[in-house]
């Protein structure tokens, strides 16, 4: 009798422990973004966006038997692959995160994916890595990598459409000398030339120089109706624009996503009147709902901030769908929760979504950026086309 009692108690304890193991009360998500480095002015609101989704889920108490979701931030530096890998390694091995929201820039994202995420089997959803090189069509990533940002191959096509509609047939291109810049410049050149345009020069610039007059001299000599600056607003991109304006080489520019930020307006204002650009963004009602939900807490319209919210939300919804926080279990559910069929889910409705999944229903996560994952798990892409008017960045339209 005594033995039976002991055995029962022991079994109960072990069962309890086993249940606790499977449904731990805490889910940790690593947020690895370049808090220092060339896009440091964009990353704070990106992290805030991701953490907003986590808070929403925690407050609902519906994820995996009311788990709390905590965020662990780490610095990807955007440019230093070694530092980014070390930071991610720390997240996975020492903080034991269950998934990673990040990284931001394409080069470090690739490094973290290959060295840390695949090696340790951790799901990564990047809100902003856009290099075409990250499209793993042959499953090199073991199905662990997703992105809520579209590939730059798509951005190159959109950029071409914008410029062609403006009647611009000849452009000079300069790009920051890294994976992002080169990938974008090359995909743009291919798309632009296929559409009948001419790229007079496609030249790299190094970030962190004091003087870009030589680079601008070469660009000016090649000529073109507009200068496409595939760089970073906090780095060489602004230097190039400044030198081009000072020497009168170009008056109007075209800016891809890395250049669009509050800094651009602040640095140049009406000097770049009439310049155009585009960055991932959407006018779906999700975007407006997201902006409203955020209020004054942080800048909800800053590039990649809605994408960050969506990336974090997808991680948690997929966990719920798999009923597990183990990456190898929930990686197969990311595409299911992101795409149709199912009930459409907008920002602020994560509690509803978790409940539907819990009851065995199906959801189609739309989120703040009208997420639709295609191919190997990347966003199909919606872009916000901007134009500089009266010294301010204004929305021309969405495409």
């Amino acid at each position: 009798m005594k033995h039976l009692l002991m055995a029962t108690a022991a079994t109960a304890l072990m069962a309890g422990a086993a249940v606790a193991g499977g449904h731990a009360k805490e889910v940790k998500i690593g947020v690895i973004l370049g808090f220092t480095g060339p896009i440091e002015s964009l990353t704070p609101s990106m992290a805030d966006g991701a953490e907003l989704a986590m808070k929403e889920v925690t407050d609902s108490g519906l994820l995996l038997d009311s788990a709390t979701v905590t965020s662990v931030r780490a610095d990807s530096t955007c440019v230093d692959a070694g530092a980014a890998t070390a930071a991610a390694e720390r997240l996975v091995t020492s903080d034991k995160v269950d998934a990673i929201m990040g990284a931001d820039c394409s080069g470090v994202t690739g490094a973290i994916l290959n060295n840390v995420a695949v090696a340790n089997g951790v799901v990564m959803i990047s809100p902003s890595a856009t290099s075409p090189g990250l499209s793993h069509n042959d499953n090199e990533d073991n199905g662990l990598f997703f992105r809520t940002a579209p590939s730059d191959a798509r951005q190159g096509v959109v950029m071409t459409e914008v410029l062609m509609e403006e009647g611009i047939k000849e452009v000079a291109v300069t790009y920051t000398n890294n994976d992002y810049g080169k990938g974008l410049a090359d995909s743009f050149q291919a798309a632009f030339e296929a559409a009948g345009g001419t790229v007079t020069i496609n030249a790299a610039h190094e970030d962190g120089k004091a003087d870009y007059s030589a680079e601008v001299g070469a660009l000016a000599s090649a000529g073109g109706d507009r200068l496409v600056v595939a760089g970073y607003v906090d780095q060489g991109g602004s230097g190039i624009v400044r030198a081009a304006l000072d020497s009168g080489a170009f008056d109007t520019f075209h800016f891809p996503d890395g250049m669009i930020g509050a800094k651009l307006q602040e640095n140049f204002g009406d000097e770049i009147e009439g310049s155009t650009g585009q960055h991932p963004g959407t006018d779906s009602e999700g975007a407006a709902m997201f902006t409203e939900m955020v209020g004054d807490a942080f800048d909800a319209t800053s590039p990649f901030t809605p994408e960050s919210y969506d990336a974090a939300a997808l991680i948690m919804l997929a966990m719920q769908a798999a009923n597990s926080k183990d990456s190898n279990d929930f990686k197969d559910h990311v595409m299911d929760v992101a795409n149709a069929p199912g009930e459409q889910i907008f920002p602020g409705q994560l509690a509803k979504a978790l409940q539907i999944i819990k009851d065995g229903g199906d959801i189609d996560y739309v989120g703040a950026t009208a997420v639709e994952l295609i191919g190997p798990g990347e966003s199909a892409g919606n872009y916000r086309q901007i134009v500089v008017e009266g010294g301010e960045i204004t929305t021309a339209k969405y495409r």
């Binding site: 000398n177 020069i201 004091a210 030589a214 001299g217 070469a218 000599s221 090649a222 000072d246 009168g248």
Partner: protein, 336 residues
């Protein structure tokens, strides 16, 4: 053919930037060459001395701006410059007291001095980053242009525009004044003559009663002034970033060596040689050629010898050629 437009395009993208850059390099190289001539070692800390002097000037400029002092259309930094020089001179004299004098009394070999200056470089490098941080600082204020592209086009009706920045004007003007003053000092004043005597033959100079410590001190003071002026002009014209000043060491040394180490005239010639080569070899000549040549001869390509990424390589190559064929430099300075 349109020679006028060709000349304007050439001035805008080659001549003016190269002259401004050349002046900045020449001032930097003068400092290096003075130390080599009088103290007999290559001072690797020169780039960071420039950064330190510039940093001091920037901090004082910000102070002036905060209390509302300005120089009207000129950059406030010009008012802060003398104070920046004083702070930089203070640090350099302190370094000399604490570091270089120890080795001087031991009559250490030049190579030891070079290694010591390398150590000083790292310390100054860290000091600057510690105080002002590693990021870009812009401190230019006042009028940005003497003549801007738009004004030039409206004024002349030409197709090509020409921009002449205030900072470029100030750079050239200041360089001329500083060089003239330096040459007057070296050739006409008693202290200047004693410096040259010390440089030519140290023992003979000591025998004729020249106080070596005084010569050394005056040299450091002049070097501090030259370094700070060169640094501030570069920072005004471009932007201030500690790492860029560290990198400037290469073209500055190339200038000093090409001109002939120890020869002030050579330093100036070297500075302009390096600046013009860097700019002209990496410039795409298509535009100028299209204006200047008859249509049949106009190039289709960019007519660019080297991509702009290779700017620093140009200084290296010139340095190699000079060292191979004329090791004493253009103006027959000391052999390296």
């Amino acid at each position: 053919m349109d020679l006028l437009n060709a000349f304007v395009a050439l001035s805008n993208f080659v001549l003016i930037p190269a002259i401004a850059y050349g002046s900045q390099l020449a001032l930097g190289a003068l400092g290096v060459t003075l130390i080599y001539g009088i103290l007999r070692f290559s001072n690797f800390a020169h780039g960071d001395t420039m950064a330190f002097g510039t940093m001091a000037t920037i901090l004082i400029t910000w102070g002036f701006q905060a209390i509302g002092i300005s120089a009207g259309p000129l950059p406030t930094a010009l008012l802060a410059l003398p104070f920046g020089i004083a702070v930089c001179a203070g640090l350099i004299l302190l370094t000399d007291r604490g570091v270089y004098r120890f080795y001087r009394t031991q009559k250490a070999k030049p190579i030891i001095f070079v290694m010591v200056s390398l150590g000083v470089m790292f310390i100054m490098n860290g000091l600057v980053r510690f105080i002002i941080g590693p990021n870009d600082q812009r401190f230019a204020d006042g009028e940005r242009f003497i003549i801007s592209v738009r004004e030039f086009k409206a004024l002349t009706g030409l197709k090509e525009g020409l921009a002449f920045k205030t900072t470029q004007g100030i750079t050239v003007l200041t360089a001329v004044i500083v060089v003239a003053a330096l040459f007057y000092f070296l050739n006409r004043t008693r202290t200047g003559k004693s410096m040259r005597a010390y440089s030519d033959n140290e023992d003979l100079a000591l025998l004729s009663g020249i106080n070596p410590e005084r010569v050394v001190m005056v040299t450091w003071l002049i070097v501090a002034a030259l370094a700070t002026i060169a640094g501030v002009l570069y920072g005004l014209d471009k932007s201030f970033k500690p790492f860029v000043y560290f990198q400037l060491l290469l073209p500055i040394f190339a200038s000093a060596i090409v001109g002939g180490l120890g020869s002030p005239l050579g330093a100036i010639a070297g500075g302009f040689t390096i600046a013009f080569s860097e700019v002209m070899i990496t410039y795409a000549w298509k535009k100028v050629a299209n204006y200047a040549l008859p249509e049949a001869l106009a190039p289709d390509g960019l007519a660019q010898l080297l991509s702009t990424d290779y700017k620093f390589a140009v200084s290296f190559v010139i340095l190699l050629i000079v060292l191979l064929f004329r090791p004493t430099g253009l103006f027959a300075g000391k052999s390296v």
